[in-house]
Subunit: 701 residues, 2 copies
């Protein structure tokens, strides 16, 4: 994984120095030192403070230059102005890693802070030093008992290391809301990082370390910033290879990307929507709140993936089963009927039942029999139609809870246990204890079904991974297209010619330079002014539709030219585009826009009001396979219209998908030279009749 640095000795240094060390616990440096010692670090600690000779019983050094050996990692808590000199000292000594806790850099928004940060980066880059921060709250390594942070969340006895990594920019949200709360819920953490401004090392570097670590099964991230698109892609690809799910919480919707996308679908292409689509495509699970991060991790860490979006729920609490079914249904989780073999096996436990329904109410059967619950769970776990098992407990006796836990441990399906109450006869048998044993246990139906839905999404991502990679369709002339692409706004005719090189079917048309040339056209045509100086043809009223016959077309030609001249007397007019009219079907919008993080992004949606009012579009990073292009159509809210809603003819989804695939390759090949590409509309005809690019606009970069 060469695109990421090896952070082995950053996370687990043999020798660590701390510049700005003090014994004063009201100070950041004092709290860091105290925690570093108390957390049980087994390496060598070098406190650095020119005013002291000893700190916490450790020999203290006046400067880094005086240290008897080179530390692997240097923590720095100094007023911001003193940081560059200290980084220089690190470089002098050949220190590989530093963590700059100090604030007062780029995050202030002030010129001075920004320059200080640039200065720090320049020193590090020149000297081969890598650093975390500034303005961060450090890191915690539970695996090797190394903590360089001031957080109160690790005060007291050190928690055991677990299999979940946590990365955040902020200290509070990452260390309290995620790490500490996850531990309270019974989970264990391997590594935690609060990385601050990401001036040098960044989010993706820490996440990559965790993804590679054998001690980490799931990586959780909460950040406002997004790693650069290429880093995120590399990270996601490696995480997918190693099957280490990444779960990310959505914070701070940036509008920067939205402003950058100044096409006429600009209002739709918000950067947040782009990253949402990109993250999903890369298999990164996005959740809404910090608690959902670890609650999702609970279920994902087990490594069992649901084979289907289905679940079986069972309980003695009918009310809870209805809740689970309702909330599941709202999240795409189905509760299918059980297989006949399952029904047969259930008879021994549910004798009064004609056939058990799903969710399965055990009320009468389970009373006084603590083994029924577990036995039924085991049977349902064997049903081939069941993706995930959801046993629901309110308050129960230990034997019953244990029997469920045993069944959960034995099945090869993911199991999300909803446990809303307590153990009646053993106060020590808590949900947290079950979690510590490896189970996924939820206190409420909503987080439970949220986690099941998230695990389904990850399962579907794994299934997509197994599909063949997108293949280049035949009939794409890259060289010709590359030649046609101009570094400016292109006319409709030129834009379509470019698209035609990639095999997109465009309307039959030609640019008429005279009334006579236009009038010679047969059939029913549309006339549109062709002028680089009039990109908005409708606004200029330089369009005529549905004309046929030499007389009408000729008159239309004159009208279009006159309207264009009236609109912009200085416009250079190429001629009038004479275009075959296409009737029937529905109008679709396809586009390629530039995202500042991800580069070219593909957009598709049913045209008109659907895009304008309902913002009903799908997005993907190119290239996409035919199957994925069909997924894009299927996930539109307007999808029923493509399938032929309310007696309409089904549309040619196959041809549309082919068009999307071709456009995705165009984006791959030429995306870097395109600042905006809109096909609006693409007319999608009834099934078997194909599609036509009716209007298109390409703006070269």
């Amino acid at each position: 994984m060469s695109s990421f640095p090896d952070l082995g000795s950053f996370f687990a240094p043999k020798r660590v120095a701390f510049v700005g060390a003090t014994e004063d616990l009201s100070k950041f440096g004092g709290r860091c030192m105290r925690l570093l010692i108390d957390f049980g670090y087994r390496g060598v600690i070098y406190p650095v403070n020119p005013k002291r000779s000893e700190l916490f019983g450790l020999k203290c050094y006046p400067s880094l230059d005086e240290l008897p050996e080179v530390p692997d990692h240097v923590g720095i808590v100094l007023p911001s102005a003193g940081v560059p000199a200290t980084l220089e000292a690190c470089v002098r000594r050949g220190v590989p890693f530093a963590t700059v806790f100090s604030a007062g850099f780029g995050e202030t928004g002030a010129e001075e802070g920004r320059l200080l940060q640039q200065c720090a980066v320049a020193i590090a880059r020149a000297g081969g030093l890598r650093f975390m921060g500034p303005n961060c709250n450090g890191m915690i390594n539970f695996v090797d008992a190394f903590a360089l942070t001031s957080t109160s969340a690790i005060k007291g006895e050190r928690r055991s290391a677990g299999d979940i990594g946590v990365v955040s920019q902020s200290g509070g949200a990452g260390q309290i809301n995620v790490m500490w709360r996850a531990q309270q819920a019974g989970l264990g953490i391997s590594y935690q990082v609060s990385c601050g401004n990401d001036a040098d090392l960044g989010l993706a570097d820490y996440m990559a370390f965790m993804v590679e670590s054998e001690r980490t099964k799931v990586v959780l991230a909460i950040a406002e910033r997004m790693p650069p698109g290429d880093k995120l892609r590399a990270l996601a690809q490696r995480a997918a290879e190693l099957e280490k799910p990444i779960v990310r919480v959505k914070v701070g919707r940036t509008e920067a990307g939205s402003r950058a996308a100044a096409s006429h679908t600009g209002s739709v292409t918000g950067a947040d929507e782009v990253s949402e689509a990109a993250l999903r495509q890369l298999g990164i699970i996005r959740v809404e709140d910090c608690s959902e991060l670890y609650e999702t991790a609970m279920l994902l860490r087990g490594g069992r993936r649901p084979k289907a979006r289905t679940a079986a729920a069972l309980s003695v609490s009918g009310g809870n089963l209805v809740m689970v079914a309702d909330l599941g249904a709202a999240r795409g989780v189905e509760f299918p009927a059980y297989a006949e073999a399952t029904q047969e096996k259930l008879k021994a436990y549910l004798p009064g039942f004609v056939g058990a329904s799903n969710p399965t109410d055990l009320t009468s059967a389970a009373i006084g029999r603590t083994d029924t619950f577990g036995a039924v769970a085991r049977i349902l776990g064997e049903d081939p139609g069941v993706g995930t098992l959801v046993p629901v407990l309110t308050s129960a006796v230990a034997a019953e809870i244990r029997s469920i836990a045993q069944a959960a441990a034995e099945t090869d399906k993911p199991v999300a246990i909803l446990f809303t109450g307590r153990c009646i006869d053993d106060p020590g048998l808590t949900p947290e204890m079950l979690v510590a044993e490896g189970h996924a246990v939820y206190r409420d139906a909503r987080p439970c079904m949220d986690a099941v839905a998230a695990a389904n999404r990850y399962g579907e991502f794994r299934a997509r991974l197994a599909r063949p990679a997108p293949q280049r369709p035949a009939g794409m002339d890259v060289a010709a297209a590359s030649k046609l692409l101009q570094p400016r706004t292109m006319t409709e005719a030129a834009s379509k010619a470019l698209l035609a090189c990639y095999g997109l079917p465009v309307t039959k048309e030609f640019v008429a330079r005279s009334r006579a040339e236009a009038a010679a056209a047969g059939g029913t045509v549309a006339l549109k002014i062709s002028s680089l100086d009039i990109p908005h043809k409708t606004e200029a009223k330089a369009i005529r539709l549905g004309l046929s016959g030499a007389e009408a077309i000729g008159r239309g030609y004159d009208e279009v030219i006159a309207a264009a001249k009236a609109y912009n007397p200085d416009a250079r007019i190429e001629g009038v585009l004479v275009q075959q009219m296409v009737a029937g079907g529905e109008e679709v919008l396809l586009g390629v826009s530039q995202d500042p993080a991800f580069g070219p992004v593909l957009t598709a949606g049913l045209g008109g009001i659907f895009v304008e009012v309902f913002k009903d579009v799908s997005r993907r990073l190119p290239p996409v396979s035919h199957q994925e292009a069909q997924d894009m159509i299927r996930e539109l809210r307007s999808a029923p219209i493509f399938a032929g809603a309310r007696g309409r003819a089904p549309l040619d989804v196959d041809a549309l998908a082919d068009c999307i695939v071709r456009l995705s390759w165009l984006a791959v090949d030429l995306g870097g030279r395109i600042s905006e590409l809109d096909i609006n509309p693409l007319r999608v005809l009834p099934a078997g009749q194909g599609v036509r690019v009716v209007d298109a606009l390409v703006v070269g970069a």
Copy 2:
């Protein structure tokens, strides 16, 4: 509140008898008896069991007839077949209330159970006895220390009474997920009921008792069944008068109502959507999960209502503030800029700031100063633009937490405290303790902002209550309409004539009985067959549009008649409807359907694909005011189209609202005699040009 029984001695009997009493704690009756005694009931207990003379040290009686005095409330745990005889014994003794725990009645779905239940109801009704159940888990009265239930949730020391009432059908969900969990979170319960099958007394009766109780401030309900519409309306009205919010969780979406609404908008009018709209209109807050019930109650019980949908958030954790802002925005909560006076006052605490933004990050200012947080909260609480205050704590020292709590207690605004971590220097200062003191404290941003949004909805309901009641518009001839309404499917012409009586503007039209009559029509017209036997005119191809001139109209007449005869040779043909064509604007659908619980329900939505594919409709129980009719339009997702999206002309929303108001009164006056009414389409013309009923179908009941 005469529509509900006085349940005073049901909830707080002076004497209680228990039929089916035993000392065997493995039995339901044993557990109930044990809990009744242990819970500290101060009245007289009469165990009834013919096989015993004493139970738990109490004198036991062979039957109800032998009791020395009449109990106020009798608990019954017997095999179902024995229940009717025991109810008869209750009647004989003049017992006012009973609770039937036994299962084996209507809930089994079997004939026998259903008959037993009917029998029980008949005995009670005849004898003036009211009973809860069957198939229930009883009730708990924390105010008077009376519990008649088997739930493990009240084992141990009795919790103090609080101000929240809980009603559920199911035992587990209501008693564990809601009651016990609310208590674990620091809340107190006044009354809890698990009412089972509701054969006699029902959900609304228990809720009404709690609404009237001075000891209850908020009522929580979780149930699959919905109280009958009239009871729910009466309950909601009383709850609104007393300002006692009702919060309800959504369980079990019934499809029964959906099937009943067999109009051509049938697929849209799901019963679940109807009850969602009705509950909102009645001020009943609907939530998704059990935990949300009590988390919403936390904020509502304080009685402070937000004056606006706005909030101010403040914290030293920037990451958490971004979360709160994101999740708030997604729930309609805005974070407005502070007033100048606020900024002025903040200067003393945030000296480095040019102007504090909202959410307010206190990072640098609050470090080492535990009073800053509280002081800033107090200032923000005084800002007139702030609806709700959201202080956010991760982990903090006691002084800081106390200063926030103090500020929360003093402001007159609702305060939702997000407290994701712990108190660093006082382990006893927990979120639960703060809740017990009366604060609303949340562990995660999502439930916190969900509660703020729910409180906003309730605040808006209170604001709607203050509006003038809907007024009857002038120009509605009820008598004439009543005369026209027929108890069957009516023709388009007759349907429109009925609507015209209520002042709805219909297209100019007449039924032509001959070609000559039709041909005499001027202008551009549509022709439609008028026959009761051909309700689907389009399917019969017996429609012609956009005809003008005697020749074309005459030919059209013949074609329509011919098509109708071909479609249905036996159809009785009234003639051909000759109708003025209306162009421009957009098509809207209005309807009145019958909901099994609520009676007539009003539906409005933009026509065509919006209703068909996006199910984009608003619903109300009639009557509605002009303002509420406008709200209906505003809350449609397609609302931007009415306002004139993307260069379209704004539509005549005022005329549309007037139409909705008139239709709502028609539903009030004649709703009971209408099984279905559809105006599809109503053409809404550009602003100032009004609306026209283009097609309508009334089906009388």
